[in-house]
Structure formats: C-alpha cells, structure tokens
C-alpha cells in the first residue's frame, strides 16, 4: 500500500468516487516502506516494489484473494481488512477481474401453513455469552459452543449437543477443551457418514448415508449466473444408514412434532419447493442443474459495487471500529515468537483432500496417503539431529503433545522459522480403518489459540513444535 500510494499507482478516480479516509490511510502507511517490511517478511525491498507495481499495472483486474482458513494470530479481522483496503486502492471491488457481485436464484420455501416458520429466526440472546459476545459478530463460532457448555457462561447451560456432520474433535482448536465441554453434557448425538472421532464420544450415533445415496434440499448458491442444483441418490443407501431428511422426520415424529414434517420423503419436499418456484422438476432432475439469467456483476456491466456499509462507501478509515476501541486502520503487531529451538506450526489443505474425512477415502489416499511436515532445507540441516527429505520425525508442541511419526518434506517452499502440515490426518478413530494412524494431527498439536477480540475467530497459528527424530524416547 505504501508503494502504491507513494507512487500514485492506485485508482484515484475510483477511490474518490467510492471510498472515504484516503488521507488518514496515506498518513498511516507513510512509514511502512518496503525497507520496513523486509526484516518482517524476509522479502527484498526491490521485490516488494516490483510486486506492487506489477499488481497495480493490471488493476482493477488484480484480485487480492482473501484466502481460506484466515484465522491465524487473533488479529485476523484487521489483516483481512488490510487486504480489502488494498483491493479498494486497486479499484477491484465490483469491477471486472476483481470482486464481482453475485446473486442467488430466488426459490420458494416449502409451502407453509399459516403460523409456520419458513426461515431461520434471529438468534435469541440466550445463545450468546453473558458478557455479550463480540462487537461485530452476531453469533459465536464453533468454539463458542464449547464455551456455552461451560457452566455459567451463557444465560443457560447447554446440556445436549446434536452434532451434524462435523468432527468437532479435529475441527476445533484445543481438543482438550472440547473434551472437557463434552464431559459437561448430559447427552451427545452424532450424525455422520463416517465413524469419525466425535462418534466415539457420542451417546447415540445416527449413521447418515452419503450424498450419492440421498435426496437433499435444493442448492442455489450465490453466483455470477444464479442457478439451482438438485441432489438425488445415484444408488440405494448401504448398511444401516439413512438420509438426513429421514433422520429429521423420524426424530420429529417421535417427539410429537410430526405435523411439521407433512411430506413423505425428501424427494416430495424438493418437488413441492420446485412446484412453488415454477421450476419443472422433471427437467431439473434430468439435467441436475438449471441456470438462471446472468446478472450484471460489475460496474462495467452496470452493477453497483457490492459495498455493504450504511453510506455505501468503502471505509479505508473505520470510525465504527474506532468507536468500539479498535484500530481504525489496520496496524501490524508482530505475533509472539515461540521458545528457542521450536518452529511455528502452520496448517492448511491440499487440493487432493477437501476435508479431514477424505483421508479415509481410498481413491484419494492412493496419490496422497499421509501428510508430511514441511521443513525449510537450511533449517532441516541446522537441527541438532539433521533431518533429510523423507525421514520420519516426531513433532512435540509447547505443551508436550507429541504427534507422529510423520515424514519430513525438506523444501525451499517455507520460511526457516515455520513448519507446515496438511490438516486432516493423524486420525485416531478405530472405525476410520484406512486413515487411522497416518501422518500427524494438526488439531492435536493446536492446544492453544488466540481469539480475535473483534469477531471472535480462533487464531490457530500460535502453536510451536520441536522436531525430534522418530523413535526417540518420549
């Protein structure tokens, strides 16, 4: 931003028209030169300048991708804002090649009787923490579920969970806290397609059939060309598994709510919605998906930029955040360093595996059977016991949690002070016969996290591990 503002490479016309707070931003980044960023990032100032010029030369078609799994250090709202502000300087909000406006296909709800609720209602205050939660988030994340289960945390204590298709033991940070929260429960139901770790903690497991064996509700996600897609079974459910709609309907009827499930099955439910929406179910079922009318997605096509502030302007300087006691413009605060001899543990996904559960898929596991711990080549050589590519190592975190053995991938593709693991491996559930015991678990090593005070996200890149040769005494 410093280079782009200093060299006037930003979209001056766009910023003048759509943004407020440019002068404050300019003053704020004045000292944040590439030379200032060099020791932090390890990237040469000339390369930073070159990159800034290159990005600016393609604006507005230079997308600053927000990324996935963006909760790193507990200051993630501000980091995400910084990326969004850079996108604003490049004029890429609502412009061709940048962030486009999208829309959903309008679909009718299941035809309701008078007095029925057809949409999710606003969350009652009882679900929120007593202290009021986070200022800009109106609901808590999954870790808030664990918090609300602690006695005295929320307006009432949570006594039962129905966990649907989420392996909370590996998806939440600090598995020791999740386990403690479960101990506070009276009752836990897990609905899953796999015998994942969470099923081992459940009082009752309701095995759901896979997506290829069931009817599901219509899908109409936000897209450039709005569309509707239908999911229909390709084969009959195997074993004792049932579709989600069947589980919901049966549970409903057994607690006296049968009137709320007047449809015979998932297919009838979907057909009724399609009829009410004026869509031919037969055509949709044959084609799988139907496209709607393409909408105007950017200024060039006549759409206004997708800006959701009250005044319709991009706030480079946020008076709203300032009022809440936060930085009005993002600032860099160096994240805490780990103890000497340790590496910061980073995690992410590989394109072959979308979720932790796919580690148990034999076809996907053949080209990608286990995760590896990425270690910088120089750092691997400098270890007390040097590590070569393919060596088996153990990872020990700051709280003494051990994971492995896992193979080392010695590479130039990572900084010397960090190691990286693909998430979703190191399963322990006996039922995951194929994935069990392969690789190392990122979740087990994530015993600490840092909560973003603005929106409550759990920053997970605050754990540090030591690398030990496999086979060394615990």
């Amino acid at each position: 931003m410093n280079v782009i503002l200093e060299e006037k490479r930003y979209d001056q016309e766009y910023v003048a028209r759509h943004a407020v707070g440019l002068e404050e931003l300019r003053a704020h980044v004045a000292g944040k030169t590439p030379e200032w960023a060099w020791p932090v990032t390890g990237i040469r100032p000339e390369l930073i300048r070159e990159t800034a010029r290159f990005i600016a030369s393609a604006r507005p078609a230079s997308l600053i991708h927000p990324g996935r799994h963006v909760t790193w250090y507990g200051d993630d709202t501000q980091r995400s804002r910084a990326m969004a502000i850079l996108a604003a300087l490049l004029g890429s909000w609502g412009r061709r090649g940048g962030y486009l406006a999208t829309d959903r296909m309008a679909l009718a709800a299941y035809p309701a009787k008078p007095g029925w609720l057809t949409a999710h209602q606003a969350r009652p205050a009882a679900d929120k923490p007593r202290q009021g939660g986070y200022p800009v988030a109106d609901e808590v994340l999954a870790s808030g579920l664990c918090d609300a289960t602690k006695p005295g945390f929320a307006l009432y204590d949570m006594k039962a969970w129905i966990v649907y298709g989420t392996n909370l033991i590996t998806t939440l940070p600090a598995p020791q806290e999740t386990a403690k929260a479960i101990q506070n429960l009276d009752f836990l139901v897990a609905i899953d397609v796999l015998p994942a770790e969470i099923c081992g903690w459940a009082d009752v497991v309701l095995p759901e059939c896979t997506y290829l064996e069931r009817d599901d509700d219509l899908a109409a996600p936000a897209w450039k060309t709005p569309f509707v897609a239908v999911r229909q079974p390709a084969v009959e459910p195997m074993y004792d598994s049932r579709p989600g709609w069947w589980i919901a309907k049966e549970l409903g009827s057994r607690v006296g709510l049968a009137d709320w499930f007047p449809w015979k099955d998932g297919r009838e439910f979907v057909d009724a919605r399609l009829r009410a929406s004026g869509i031919d179910a037969a055509v949709l079922r044959q084609k799988g998906a139907l496209a709607g009318k393409r909408i105007a997605t950017c200024e060039e096509e006549g759409a206004a930029p997708p800006i959701s502030t009250d005044d319709g302007k991009i706030h480079l300087f946020s008076a709203e955040l300032q009022k809440l006691g936060f930085d009005p413009i993002p600032s860099f605060y160096p994240p805490e360093e780990g103890p000497p001899g340790t590496f910061r543990l980073l995690m992410g996904r590989a394109p072959t595996h979308t979720f932790g559960r796919t580690a148990n898929n034999r076809l996907l596991a053949e080209p990608f059977p286990e995760n590896q711990v990425w270690v910088n080549a120089d750092a691997a050589r400098a270890l007390p016991v040097p590590v070569r590519n393919g060596d088996l190592v153990m990872l020990v975190n700051q709280d003494g949690v051990r994971q492995g053995p896992v193979r080392a991938k010695v590479t130039e593709r990572i900084r010397g002070d960090c190691v990286y693991l693909v998430h979703g491996f190191g399963h322990t559930a006996r039922g995951l016969r194929f994935a069990r015991g392969r690789g190392a678990s990122t979740s087990a090593l994530t015993t600490r996290y840092k909560v973003d005070p603005i929106m409550g996200g759990t920053g997970m890149n605050v754990n540090f591990v030591r690398i030990e040769p496999a086979g060394s005494p615990a």
């Binding site: 390369l47 394109p351 072959t352 076809l363 996907l364 053949e366 080209p367 590479t411 130039e412 593709r413």
Partner: protein, 179 residues
C-alpha cells in the same frame, strides 16, 4: 489424413489436485499401487525467490518410441493416431520396455503384464476425451489431433510456449507442457 493424437498440459493452470490420477484409476480399473498418470511439483530457487511448476505427467506416446524397439514380443506397438499401446496377451512382463522408457511411464500390472497410459483410446474411438481430460477441474489438459490444424490442441501449441520432457532423447514426445 492420418491422425496424430497429442496432449497439451497447461502447467500454469494445474493446481496439482490429482483428479486426473484418480479418474484414470477408476476409468481403467487400475490395481492398487498402479498409476498411468501422476503429478510432479518442481521447485526452483531458494526461499523466498522461488518458481514452481506443476505437471500432470503420463506416457508421452513418443513418435520414435524406444519402448516399441525394446519389446522382444511385439506387445508394445503403435496403434492408430500414433498411440503407443501394450497388448497384454503378448506381454511376458520382461520389463525391457520399462528400462528403455525415459519417463517412468510404465509399471507391471498385478496380472503380470506391463501397463501404461493409452490416451483412453477406447473412449477416443467413441468421440470422447480421455478420462483425465474430462475430469480436470481447471481444464489444464487438452487432447486432440495434431494433424488437424484447427483442433484445440494444435491451436494451443501455435499460440503458447511449450516444452517437452527430455527432448535430448530424440524420442519426439507427443505430450506438450505449456509454460
């Protein structure tokens, strides 16, 4: 005109998801541990000044294929469109072809014969593309006939820079990597 089948692999689009590998395994019912295609990630430089290339690799269906010369029984042969094929009935599993291949494209099938990519000729004959090409979510793979100047693969090779693997062998590969 005689067909000359070829594939263009766009190394700038490929993200290395291995969907090509998995679709090949299911389409051709490959045994556990057997692969006809695979993904290579090559990194050059030192951190942070790096460049990387991701390639979906397979048999190059070389125009002068040493594996065909090496085969003592005639099992490895040239089929229509210049596709290098193995006839399992003639193959004794002697592995001379494996030794002669510069690309490691061949392996011994669980049933004893040597196996490799066929450009999915059984699909191509019916007018469909190879399974890997049809599956690729980033559309990195383009298959077609180089003898047809207007085919998608011919047009791509006219408009983009490309490389072949190990050109020094003189094998004249028919899989081209767009860079």
């Amino acid at each position: 005109m005689k067909k000359r089948y070829a594939m263009a692999v766009d190394t700038r689009r490929c993200v290395g998801c291995s969907a090509c590998v998995i679709s090949c395994k299911t389409e051709n019912r490959l045994p556990a541990g057997g692969f006809r295609d695979w993904v290579v990630q090559e990194t050059r430089g030192t951190f942070p000044a790096l460049s990387m290339e991701i390639r979906s690799e397979r048999c190059n269906h070389c125009s002068s294929a040493p594996c065909i010369d090496a085969c003592p029984t005639g099992a490895s042969h040239l089929a229509e469109g210049g596709v290098v094929m193995v006839n399992p009935a003639k193959c004794t599993g002697c592995k001379a072809c494996i030794a002669s291949c510069a690309y490691g494209a061949r392996y011994v099938h669980a049933e004893g014969h040597v196996d490799k990519c066929t450009f999915c000729l059984h699909r191509v004959r019916k007018g469909r593309s190879p399974a890997c090409v049809e599956t690729c979510p980033t559309r990195s793979l383009t298959f077609g006939d180089l003898a047809d100047a207007e085919s998608a693969v011919s047009r791509l090779l006219r408009s983009r820079r490309f490389e072949v693997l190990r050109p020094e062998t003189g094998n004249r590969p028919n899989v081209f990597f767009l860079t």
